[in-house]
Amino acid sequence: MGTETKSQTTTAQKFQALILDIFFGIYFVVTLHRVFYYQVLLSLRKLPPVTVEIVLLYIGIGTILGLALFFLNASPGKLIFRQLPDVPWKKAVAEHFLWIIGVLTIATGWVVTRVSILDFFSQEGLAGAKRIFSALLSPEWSILPQALLAIVETIYLALMATLFALPVAFILSFFTARNLMRQSPITLGIYTVLRVLVNFTRSIEPLIWAIIFTVWVGIGPFAGTLALMVHTIASLTKLYSEQIENVDPGPIEAIEATGAHPMQVIWFAVVPQIVLPFLSFTIYRWDINVRMATIIGLVGGGGIGTLLMQYQGLAQWHEVGLLVLIIAIVVWIMDYLSARIREALV
C-alpha cells in the first residue's frame, strides 16, 4: 500500500503536507510555551507580554521543527495525507506528535475559556445560581401584557423580514444557479459575482447586521427587520439556487425543444419542480427568523429581546423569568407548526 500511494503523490499534495508540518511546528511551540509552560507549569495568571522578538522566535523554532519532521519523514502532515512511507518508528513519531498537539489544544481551550471547577461549585456561585433559577421559576406575571406586546412585535418582525426577503431571494436564486447561468461567459460572470456577494452576506451573522443597521436607521424594530431581511435574502438565495441546480434537466430539454422562449422554459420546466421545496424552505426560514428576532433585540433591534435586556440590566430576575418563558413557548410552537406544515408539503 505504501508504494502504491507514494507513486500517486503529487507535488501539490507534498506542498500541502509541508505547510501543515510548519503550521504544526509553530502551533506546538506557541502552545507549549505560552499555555503549558506559563499557565500549567508555572500557573501564572498574568502572562508576560508578546514582543516582536518572541513572535519571530516562535516562528523560527516552529518552522525548523516542522521542516525537520517533514524531511525526516516523521511528518504528521504526510501522515494525514497518507503519504508516509512504512517505517514504524517514523510513523510512531508522527502519530505521537499529533497526539501531543491534540492534548495541547484541549489544554489551551481549557485555559482560554477560563474553565474553573472552583468557580462553578463555589459557595457564592451556587448561591447566585439558586437566586436566578428560583426567580426564573417564579416569573413576574404583572408584566405579561407588555411581554405579549413585545413577542407579537417579534413575530411580525420575523414575518416581515421573511416576506420582504422572499421575492428578492426568488429572483436572485435563478441568477445564482449554475446550471442556468453557465451558457455564456457573461452570465457566468454575473453568477460568480452574485455568488460571492451572497456567500459574504450570509457569513455575517444577523446579530452583526443588526448592529450595523442600528447605526444606520437607529435603534428599534426596523433595524432588526432589516438585519434579518438581509441575512434571510442571502440564505434563502443559497437554499433556493441549490434546489434549482438539482432540478431534473429532462423537462428543460423537452420544453427547449419545442422552441420555447427561455422565460417559458423556466416557468414550465423549472418552476413546477421547485415550488414545494421553496415553500418548505421559506417556512423553515420564518421559524429560524422568529428565533433570531428574539435575540436581535439584545443589540437594539427591537422586539422582546430589547425588553429582556432592560430587565436584565436592572437585575429584575422575576421579570426576566417571564420573558424567557414566553420566548420558549413561542419558539416551541413555531418549531412544531413549521415542522408539521413542511411535512404536509412534501
Binding site: G250, P251, E253, A254, A257, G259, H261, M263, Q264, F268
Partner: protein
C-alpha cells in the same frame, strides 16, 4: 434537396470525451431513420446536435439547405419548432395535467406573457384534445401525468410534440423504459406519423428487431463514428458483431 444534412460534425465535451467524430449524414424527407450503437456511442449527442440542444464543436448542420449551425435567439427557436422531440424518460411536467403538458408543445408559437399566465386560446385547447385523440388518450386529459403508466406518458409526449406541427420527430430511445408490448404500441404511433402524415422520424433504438420492423433506413455509430449506412435487412451477422462487439448476442423483443 435533403431535409437534414450533417457535414463533418464533431462534438467534444468539456471533459474531453469525443462523442461525435466527423459525422456525415443526409436525411431525406419522409424517412424513418433508425440510429443504433452501443451505449455511449454518441446516439443521444447526434440527435441533440440536430435541434441544437447541444452545440457541435465543429462541422455544419444544414436544414433544407440552410445553414443552422450557428443561428441564435428567435431564429433558433423558430427552427426548433419544426423539430419535435421525445425522450426515454418522457420528460413531462409531473404534477401537471395531461392537457397542460400537451399544450406546452405549442409554446414556441405563443407570446411569452399570456402563456406563462396559462391563458391558452380555445382553438389551441381543442387542437390539444385532437392530438390526444391521435394517441388514444382523450379521456385522460384532466389526469396528472405522474398518475399515468410509462407507455401512456410517452404517448402524451408524442401528443405534445405534435402540437409543434413538426416536420421531423427526434426520438431518443423512446421505448427503452417500456415493456415489449407497450414498446410496440408506442412504435406503432411513430410509424403511423411517418406513413400517414409523411413525418420524417429519426429514432435511436437498442433492439434490432424493432429496427427491422419500423425503420426504413439504419445508421450505426461506434465510438462517435458512423460506421454503417444501409437498409435494416443489410445488417448481417458480421455487421452486427462489428457494431455491438464480438460477444454480443441478438435478443428478440416479442
Amino acid at each position: 434537396m435533403a431535409l437534414i444534412e450533417l457535414r463533418k460534425l464533431n462534438k467534444i465535451y468539456p471533459n474531453g470525451v469525443h462523442a461525435l467524430v466527423d459525422v456525415d449524414l443526409t436525411v431525406q424527407e419522409g424517412e424513418f431513420l433508425v440510429v443504433i450503437g452501443l451505449s455511449g456511442s454518441g446516439k443521444s449527442t447526434l440527435l441533440r446536435c440536430i435541434n441544437r440542444l447541444i452545440e457541435p464543436t465543429s462541422g455544419q448542420i444544414l436544414y433544407r439547405g440552410q445553414d443552422v449551425t450557428h443561428i441564435q435567439g428567435k431564429e433558433l427557436r423558430q427552427y426548433r419548432k419544426k423539430i419535435g422531440m421525445i425522450f426515454q424518460q418522457f420528460n413531462l411536467i409531473k404534477r401537471r395535467t395531461v392537457l397542460l403538458n400537451v399544450l406546452t408543445g405549442a409554446l414556441g408559437s405563443l407570446p411569452v406573457l399570456p402563456s406563462i399566465l396559462e391563458r391558452f386560446p380555445d382553438n389551441l385547447r381543442q387542437e390539444a384534445m385532437e392530438k390526444l385523440r391521435i394517441v388514444g388518450l382523450e379521456d385522460k386529459w384532466n389526469v396528472r401525468v405522474d398518475a399515468l403508466s410509462g407507455g401512456q406518458q410517452q404517448r402524451v409526449a408524442i401528443a405534445r410534440s405534435l402540437m409543434q406541427h413538426p416536420e421531423v420527430l427526434l426520438a431518443d430511445e423512446p421505448v427503452a423504459s417500456l415493456d415489449p408490448a407497450t414498446s410496440h404500441s408506442v412504435m406503432k404511433y411513430l410509424k403511423q406519423l411517418n406513413t400517414d402524415y409523411g413525418m420524417t422520424i429519426i429514432c435511436n433504438l437498442h433492439f434490432l428487431s424493432l429496427v427491422r420492423t419500423y425503420g426504413t433506413r439504419v445508421v450505426a455509430l461506434k465510438q462517435g463514428k458512423l460506421i454503417f449506412r444501409g437498409k435494416p435487412e443489410e445488417i448481417t451477422q458480421e455487421w452486427f458483431k462489428e457494431i455491438y462487439g464480438e460477444e454480443a448476442e441478438e435478443v428478440e423483443i416479442a
